[in-house]
């Protein structure tokens, strides 16, 4: 378009205004990411890899976000000139199309591979020394259970459910004698893998430990296992992340991560 270069004036103020709005939006949102005004809750488990992946995707998508939005704004400003005689009749470019299709494909393939490696690690078999714990969701409480000294969970039967026997523990089963049952409280030792069996008595719930990057739905009729290693002592919140009824928002529990000795001491104080 040779004609274009000759005319300078006539840019629409609206083009510039929209461009400025888009640029401002990019600057504000990106600055808030940099400032980390609101960020992932403090990490307290071995699942830091998830934070790493999150950060990697944030960098890649962040760059794409800034570049594409900035370009959009720039085009709007630059090509808003109504005194230009005529737009360009140009609608094909094989090299351009191949470049951006392949470019996107390569970047996404890398993200897929990195993500899948981490995913397989998260769902790998738990280590042998992992501490077995069971957490059962019900409207609107978390019930946790430890197998006790014998290391075996006692038999449960839904027919035995009652307000007094919330897990339906079968008293006939010797393994159930020393099981420890707690409501909305979970105790774990630091630096030892915990292997959590997740179950539900009624609705879907989702066992969510914001500080541990752990989230897993509990499903009636199914037992799902997750394992992770708490790495920091302290008290943390357990949340429900799947709509489970009108008390969903207050289905809150506490996870206490104790020192190894503290945990042994606590365990010894429990049960008969």
């Amino acid at each position: 378009m040779e004609e274009k270069a000759t005319v300078k004036s006539g840019r629409s103020g609206e083009g510039l205004f929209l461009a400025l709005l888009i640029w401002l939006m990019v600057i504000v949102t990106t600055a808030l990411f940099f400032k980390r005004a609101w960020w992932l809750p403090t990490l307290a488990s071995d699942r830091g890899g998830i934070d790493g992946l999150f950060f990697a995707i944030l960098i890649v998508t962040g760059i794409a976000f800034v570049v594409v939005q900035a370009m959009l704004g720039y085009f709007l400003w630059r090509f808003s000139d109504r005194s230009v005689a005529r737009a360009a009749y140009w609608h094909e470019s094989r090299p351009l199309e191949i470049t951006w299709t392949l470019g996107t494909t390569v970047i996404l393939s890398i993200l897929i591979l990195v993500g899948l490696r981490l995913w397989t690690r998260v769902f790998s078999a738990p280590p042998d020394d992992a501490l077995p714990v069971e957490v059962t969701g019900q409207q609107f409480e978390w019930t946790s259970r430890y197998p006790g000294k014998d290391g075996a969970f006692g038999r449960t039967d839904p027919k035995l459910f009652s307000p007094d026997n919330r897990l339906g523990l079968d008293e006939q089963d010797p393994a159930s004698k020393d099981d420890i049952v707690l409501v909305n409280q979970l105790y774990l030792p630091v630096d030892r893998p915990a292997r959590v069996r997740l179950r539900s008595k009624d609705m879907l719930h989702s066992f969510f430990l914001p500080n541990f990057r752990v989230k897993q739905d509990t499903v009636p009729g199914m037992t799902v296992e997750n394992w992770f290693v708490p790495t920091k002592e302290g008290d943390y919140e357990i949340a429900c992340a799947e709509l489970c009824g009108l008390g969903h928002y207050k289905m809150r529990g506490l996870l206490h991560v104790l020192s190894q000795e503290g945990f042994e001491k606590w365990l010894a104080e429990q049960g008969p």
Binding site: M1, S12, E14, G15, L18, L21, L32, W38, L40, P41, I50, F54, I57, L58, T61, F65, L72, F75, L76, F79, V84, A87, W90, E92, E97, T101, T104, L108, I112, G115, L116, L118, W119, T120, V122, F123, Q138, Q139, P158, M203, L204, F208, P210, K215, D217, T218, V219, P220, G221, V224, E237, A239, C240, A241, L243, G245, L246, H248, Y249, R252
Partner: protein
């Protein structure tokens, strides 16, 4: 087919009822759909305002609202179960009855015959029937608020067992039954519409209108119709199974050993995961049913107001086909943490990130269309450009959620809410606005007020970003979806000011829509008379009168000689060549 239609072209029905109420004219039906969707949208928007009100000030006492909602907000304090019904119905109404109905059934009906050069849809009676089938669905959905226990309260996804066990939550009583029945009406209507779309586009294209000359809007609507026909049967089956589980003692979704309300249920042998698979087999194509029309509208509107041919038309079509096809194999990314096998999670990670490729390509093509353009910033163009911006933002946040491992902390948090409000809700809502400003002259023969339209855009664009972008931060901070009171959690309490900010922005966003409503209804009666082709556009509808008469064209149907994107062809006197202009006429228009 055209021959068969000729006789009834001459005589438009004369009585008011046959002409405007039980009409079989695709334009009237399109407008009926559109206005129904718009009014439903007002209700669904108000529901969102109430949701936001409670999220900013949980369990606060609002005496005035207590008078308005004596059951849900007794003494002015919102009950948790009412809150859950509000967001459930906001989602259901918006996804199905607003953002599917307005662009697909509304604009689809109005535009398809006009853009392909047909007198009407292939089955005009079926078309009318489809509208009169969806209307009871809308009424049933809306009336469910007055049912005992209130409206459905299991989320728009109606996950079992919450939706299957009546004792689980008050809304799982009559409200959920009405939800299922309303959806069945919707699906029946959408299926009739889809059949009609596909048949019409395949059979009734005018002379010269090959598939390669279809405007991208028609391509999008064609693909949407196919997606709907293939995906909705899964939800129909699921809804019927749910109805049986609820009322006739079957156990499709309910396993043994469920203990609800201190009572052991008699069900056995089902699994809640089955519902999720069936629902999302529909649900994911459904989000593209919302988005593809917006992609079509944007492409056509950007081309018109850039005065540029759309960049890489064949790739634009192919990428929509790819998105439509892939949309059937990504549903499992909604279920990464559902208890589904982690191996399946891996497969769905791959398919989900692959779908980002055609989406990215579309964005680049839109940008390339703007390159060396001569942009005219009309209200429809502003909204179309808004779509591109929202689409980029929402598409990129999808990459976090599509990668199973990164999804773990973000799943079911406000990050997801932010994501889909940009890509699915935002893009399609802006698409409806763009389309309305663009085709209003053809629909009503009058122009909408351009100043008001632009003001509507500026307010909506700014308020949209300030409402939904901060939700990403909330999600990263771990705030769960669907909670009545975030301050229950210590780790969420410090973020409460963000919730207040979002709510205030949402109120601005809501208020800005009043401008649109006013502009729309005012312009129907008082708007400036529209010319036949006010935007100097190429597609066939602009060769018909504004508004087009019954049968669309007074004389013979137009013949098509070219693709719809001949803008700024060098050495021709006008900067646009409508599809109906023959090569001989172009020769005559050559400069010099």
């Amino acid at each position: 087919m055209a021959k068969v239609h000729e006789p009834h072209v001459a005589h438009a029905p004369q009585s008011f009822i046959r002409r405007y109420i039980f009409s079989t004219d695709h334009k009237v039906i399109g407008i009926q759909y559109y206005v129904t969707a718009m009014l439903t949208g007002v209700v669904a928007g108000i529901l969102a305002m109430l949701v936001r009100l409670n999220l900013a000030w949980p369990a606060h006492e609002w005496p005035l609202l207590g008078k308005l909602f004596p059951v849900g907000m007794e003494f002015g304090v919102m009950k948790p179960e009412f809150y859950i019904s509000l967001f459930t119905m906001h989602g259901t109404l918006m996804v199905f009855f607003v953002l599917s109905l307005a662009p697909v059934s509304g604009f689809g009906n109005f535009l398809i015959p006009l853009q392909i050069g047909a007198r009407d849809m292939a089955y005009p009676f079926l078309n009318a029937l489809s509208y009169w089938t969806v209307l009871p669905g809308v009424i049933i959905m809306l009336s469910s608020f007055f049912a005992e226990g209130g409206a459905a309260a299991a989320g728009w996804t109606s996950y079992a067992p919450l939706s299957a066990v009546q004792e689980a939550i008050p809304g799982s009583g009559m409200g959920q039954t009405l939800w299922i029945i309303g959806m069945v009406f919707f699906i029946a209507s959408f299926t009739m519409g889809g059949l009609n779309f596909v048949t019409t586009i395949i059979n009734l294209r005018t002379k010269g209108m090959s598939m390669r000359r279809l405007p991208l809007t028609v391509w999008a609507l064609f693909l949407v119709a196919i997606l709907g026909l293939l995906a909705f049967p899964a939800l129909t089956a699921a809804a019927v199974m749910l109805l049986f589980d609820r009322h006739f003692g079957t156990s499709f979704f309910l396993p043994a050993g469920m203990y609800v309300g201190d009572k052991l249920l008699a069900h056995q042998g089902g699994t809640p995961l089955l519902w999720q698979h069936l629902f999302w087999f529909l649900g994911h194509p459904e989000v593209y049913i919302l988005m593809l029309p917006a992609m079509g509208f944007t492409s056509d509107i950007i081309a018109t107001f850039s005065r540029r041919p759309i960049f890489s038309y064949p790739v634009m079509v192919l990428s929509m086909v790819a998105i439509g096809g892939l949309s059937f194999v990504v549903w499992g990314h909604h279920m990464f943490l559902s208890g589904m096998s982690p191996y399946l999670g891996m497969a769905f990670t791959v398919t989900t990130l692959v779908i980002a490729i055609p989406s990215a390509v579309k964005t680049f093509n839109w940008l390339a269309t703007l390159w060396r353009a001569k942009i005219e910033f009309t209200a429809p163009m502003l909204f179309a450009l808004g779509i591109v911006s929202l689409f980029v933002t929402g598409g990129l946040s999808g990459i976090f959620l599509g990668s199973a491992a990164a999804d773990i902390p973000l799943h079911d948090t406000y990050f997801v809410v932010a994501h889909f409000h940009f890509i699915m809700a935002g893009a399609s809502l802006f698409g409806v606005f763009a389309a309305t400003y663009y085709w209003f002259p053809k629909m009503f023969g009058r122009m909408m007020n351009s100043k008001l339209g632009k003001l509507h855009f500026w307010l909506t664009f700014v308020a949209y970003y300030s409402t939904f972008f901060p939700m990403h931060y909330l999600g990263i901070g771990g705030m769960m979806r669907r909670i009545y009171d975030p301050t229950v959690y210590q780790y969420l309490a410090p973020m409460q000011p963000v919730n207040v900010f979002i709510t205030l922005s949402a109120f601005v966003l809501g208020a800005a829509q009043l401008l649109f409503l006013f502009n729309f209804f005012w312009s129907v009666y008082k708007g400036k008379k529209a010319e036949q082709n006010p935007w100097n556009a190429n597609t066939l509808e602009w060769t018909a009168a504004s508004p087009p008469p019954h049968g669309n064209w007074e004389g013979p149907l137009p013949t098509v000689h070219r693709w719809p994107y001949d803008y700024s062809v060098p050495d021709v006197s006008d900067d646009y060549i409508p599809q109906s202009v023959s090569p001989a006429e172009v020769q005559a228009r050559k400069k010099g």
